[in-house]
Symmetry: C2
């Protein structure tokens, strides 16, 4: 900031420009000029037209006595030519022009001379011969090039986000994001949904992730919390009879940002009354398909396939299955249960499963490579990774000797094994076997290049278990949240076999990434009591955690349910980006700071005093 | 909450209903039924049609052996008839139905019997003969009636907001709000604006109103601030070349909520590049006119009238003039300067003004009434209120004797006085005279019933002064903010007569309420330096307050400007409400609390510890 020293530069101000005291024009005003076209929109049909363009200097080249400037705006680039013979004053001014200067150019569009057209540029058939140039602003040299596919440290891009966002690929992502939000809003409006704003200053609840807190000045010692989602309020809106609600809304979680997460993120949040699972799924997939078409030009066939949670875990070892490739999991527990390999047999005898995948053509993997796969599976708690190398001559494996030929044949059949394949097995508790092999499947799918480009595979995962048994606490806990409804036909199981109760919950998965999730809610007091009893939540605990909502539910709550879509992730996938930071205009780093504005920052003591708090910086 | 005691009620669960242990059905499930129509949408054309309705019981009446239920949903009411002869089971169930129960009804639409149509109800020509009834939920008796125009303490309404929002007038306001936002978004999208999300977790700036702060867990001792507006970010987006930005966005101010204010409020926020005042005004009024038409069915003629700040102050004594009625201020300083009434003459001699309004037909006001007006003017710092009562015989006033007949005649002419009128005068510093009489004008306009119903008078106020002279600090301060651009032709005055420089700033006023405001920004470094110098902001202070923005401005900033509309106020006026709380779904009280959810609330000690703060509740 050192070079910004106010009032030190001798300057004069006219109506039309700012001059230095020698009368040299530093900056022209725009006054009286009106942009007629975007740079990037000019085409051969515009030849002969007088235009006024305004934009940034992408490049300046001096060639053959002429000056060529590529002028850039949101729509793209166009070539502007300055000729000393035809328009001397403009030419002279153009001599002072540098990269990222802001120009207004008046001139005539003309076809480029034969042989100089640029087929890689949308405006490449034309150029603009400038007859007037105004330098609206000057610019320092940017710390990186304003162009796509730059190889620049992300922190530098975030520090100069206003320059980063000038790059076409970033602008395209934000335009896609705008179009996607518009498309969703149009769809929901046409289907009777009302966008209703819920508060950002909410009550802190002890459930879920960590809240961001906001001290109250007027209510000493009390705090607001920023919402992790509008969950309670959207259900309240159903109690209020608003029937169909949506909102594209910021949500907040004060989590450690190891994964590709942001402290604030955006949801398309919906809730409907008097509906069931199929209604929400049907409407949602229509909305998403339209959004993909209108924002990204993608045609996604409807309906999206549905997988039950059980099938997703069985076949893909994940409740977020990437269905763009095969490499599916096979269960060989039936074969393994009687085999001579004690590890397998005893796992099955103890209620576990033996599952495998067939890494086609990977028989040549080295011992080291297989060890690496074993280590990878271990991240997902697999205690080991057994393998068979299938050769023309049979099988190579240290454990092959424990299997009969018949058993080997059955296993090969089940895994569709051919010579050259590598078969990988995990024997463990059912969820560990599934998760570890599912992770290995994804890992190998990427490594082996099995995932085709350009596929957008949406899939619904439905029929999640309502409850999860928490071994440590020795009780059932809600897998989603305690307001998720069980399927009616499973209600009786709450008394007899709670683990088998299926929830009316559904997730939307795109290419292995969860992009949405929701449920039909419990709306009935008796069933809610039953649910709380099943997960050992007593009346006072329920009142403390969900107080006003439970009270509201006493006044005539309709059947209702909803869903929320992770807008950042969806846009990231549609824009072909690898991180949500590339589709969020002003993201924060992993330490939750904004490198451009330096938020968060220190505040003055009086501010804290007014808020009835003080710092507590001692190490705990 | 005492009556919510989970697991205590003996209940059984079937696939289709919840029963008590004697088999009495408590609640039916909706399963298998699909709503076919909204209650309020049925018309005579639907007679003969089988329908499935779902909604709330507005009233139940037993009459002539039949049961009549008015069933309500978001679209309105319809009468449902239960007949013991035709559908006994449904009738029997209907006997147990009470207000606000949630029902699903299957039945046939039929024309109401002759003489029983209700012309006050959109569905009043038809009724639905129920053949199946399901009680989807029961309800406690609400603490107030679910109908329009209830006379209930607002705190009770806020406490039970979910019931308050069931009232048709509240739902209509939220529907209007939804439509208005949709209309604005459609318009802006069609005009090339991109909706771009700016962060809620921002940097605290010492300017403006008080910030809400959010302690950072990851950055001990540092705080985020919730934005008072996206001002810096939207200007940054112009630097980034996004060209046209908008956002419908929550903003936050931690102020004392004396007036009709809320801690969080909603703005339609816009910014454009390469434009001037007329572009923004033209686009804005097109957007607003369309919004009024699409959301509220109002036709507002274009263009909106414009008043300069000076004219608004001269004629209406306000920069937020209510132009729905006359009662304009008249300046009689020229006449008063030479009069014998020393108070007037000396005020004019000292640079003040004498201004008056003509309260038509108010000659009969009592001394007490005039004293009350004087007290009212005193709130606005007027040191006194002089008056003339105009009668058939001349004038009655304690000060009349100080004026010549010629002076009186000129004053009467200027104020168009007739017998029966009451002329009121304030002699004071120009701004005090204008403000006090302006307030008196508004007060009398309302009291005398001069303000016609159903008028929506938009007016632009333009050409605000750029600078305001702060007597206490002995320096000029920015009237809007220090990035507001002066008019080019006034720039030279910055050196000679800063108080005369007009800003490129504009406010939109509707019926005396400011509903929008904005400006063209300074984008040029030299002019910005000049501006900072004029208001005595030095380089280090500027860097501290506006650091990253000033740095961004060095990299090629385009001419740009914008505007923000107070969405809550606009909707309040269009919905005909008296407070923005009636158009905000979940507003807070004057003590910034949510009576429904009890936010803000106490949090547990560990939460604060994680955030590196502790309470500081000592009285300062």
């Amino acid at each position: 900031m050192q070079d910004i020293a106010y009032g030190l530069r001798p300057t004069a101000y006219g109506n039309k420009q700012v001059m230095d005291l020698e009368g040299k024009i530093l900056i022209d005003f725009m006054q009286g000029l009106k942009r007629s076209h975007y740079c990037g929109d000019l085409r051969i049909e515009d030849a002969g037209r007088q235009v006024v363009l305004m934009g940034w200097v992408q490049t300046r080249r001096d060639h053959g006595g002429l000056i060529f400037v590529d002028l850039r705006d949101r729509a793209g680039l166009v070539q502007v030519v300055f000729s000393p013979d035809q328009h001397e004053e403009a030419f002279k001014k153009a001599e002072g022009v540098r990269g990222e200067y802001v120009l207004a150019v008046q001139g005539a569009v003309r076809e480029r001379p034969e042989g100089t057209a640029n087929p890689n540029l949308a405006t490449g058939q034309v150029e603009v011969l400038a007859n007037e140039l105004r330098v609206l602003n000057r610019a320092k040299t940017p710390p990186f090039y304003i162009e796509d596919n730059i190889d620049v440290d992300e922190n530098l891009r975030l520090r100069y986000r206003y320059l980063d966002l000038r790059r076409p690929e970033m602008q395209e992502a934000l335009i896609l994001r705008h179009k996607a939000a518009k498309s969703a809003r149009d769809f929901l409006d046409e289907h009777g949904f009302l966008e209703i704003e819920t508060p950002i200053l909410q009550k802190s609840t002890p459930e879920g992730a960590r809240d961001y807190l906001v001290p109250s000045r007027i209510n000493p010692g009390k705090f607001y919390a920023l919402p992790q989602s509008p969950q309670l309020f959207k259900q309240i809106l159903m109690v209020a009879g608003l029937d169909r609600y949506f909102q594209i809304v910021h949500c907040f979680r004060d989590e450690d940002l190891r994964a590709d997460r942001q402290p604030e993120f955006t949801q398309i949040d919906m809730e409907m009354s008097f509906i069931d699972v199929d209604d929400i799924i049907g409407l949602s997939e229509e909305m998403i398909a339209r959004l993909c078409r209108e924002a990204a030009g993608l045609e996604i066939p409807l309906p999206f396939p549905r997988l039950s949670y059980k099938e997703a875990m069985d076949r893909f070892g994940s409740d977020k299955p990437d269905t763009r490739f095969g490499l599916e999991l096979k269960d060989i527990s039936d074969i393994a249960s009687g085999c001579g390999f004690k590890v397998f047999a005893s796992v099955v005898a103890g209620g576990g499963r033996v599952k495998g995948i067939n890494a086609k053509g990977c028989a040549s993997f080295s011992r080291k490579e297989i060890d690496d796969l074993t280590a990878y599976a271990a991240i997902y708690r697999a205690k080991g990774l057994a393998y068979f190398v299938v050769t023309e001559d049979g099988v190579k494996s240290v454990i092959a000797k424990f299997f009969t030929d018949e058993e080997l044949k059955l296993i090969f059949e089940r895994l569709e094994a051919e010579p050259g394949d590598l078969l990988l097995f995990v024997a463990d508790k059912p969820d560990v076997a599934a998760n570890a092999l599912g992770a290995l499947r994804q890992h190998l799918g990427e490594r082996l290049g099995l995932i085709p480009e350009g596929l957008y595979n949406f899939v619904w995962v439905v029929d999640f278990p309502l409850l999860d048994y928490d071994q440590e606490e020795g009780r059932y806990v809600a897998m989603h949240h305690p307001f998720t409804s069980p399927r009616e036909e499973d209600i009786a199981l709450l008394d007899t076999n709670p683990g088998e109760v299926r929830a009316k919950a559904y997730d939307l998965v795109l290419n292995g990434v969860e992009v949405g999730g929701g449920s039909i809610r419990i709306y009935n007091r008796d069933l809610q009591e039953k649910m709380f009893a099943t997960i050992n939540i007593g009346p006072s605990e329920a009142a403390e955690k969900f107080g006003f909502m439970l009270e509201a539910f006493e006044y005539g709550t309709p059947p209702h349910g909803g869903i929320a879509f992770g807008f950042d992730r969806l846009i990231m996938l549609l824009a072909g980006k690898k991180t949500i930071r590339d589709v969020i205009p002003f993201p924060k780093t992993q330490s939750a700071t904004c490198l451009m504005s330096q938020a968060p920052n220190l505040v003055v003591q009086e501010q804290l005093k007014e808020l009835h708090i003080k710092l507590d910086l001692k190490k705990n």
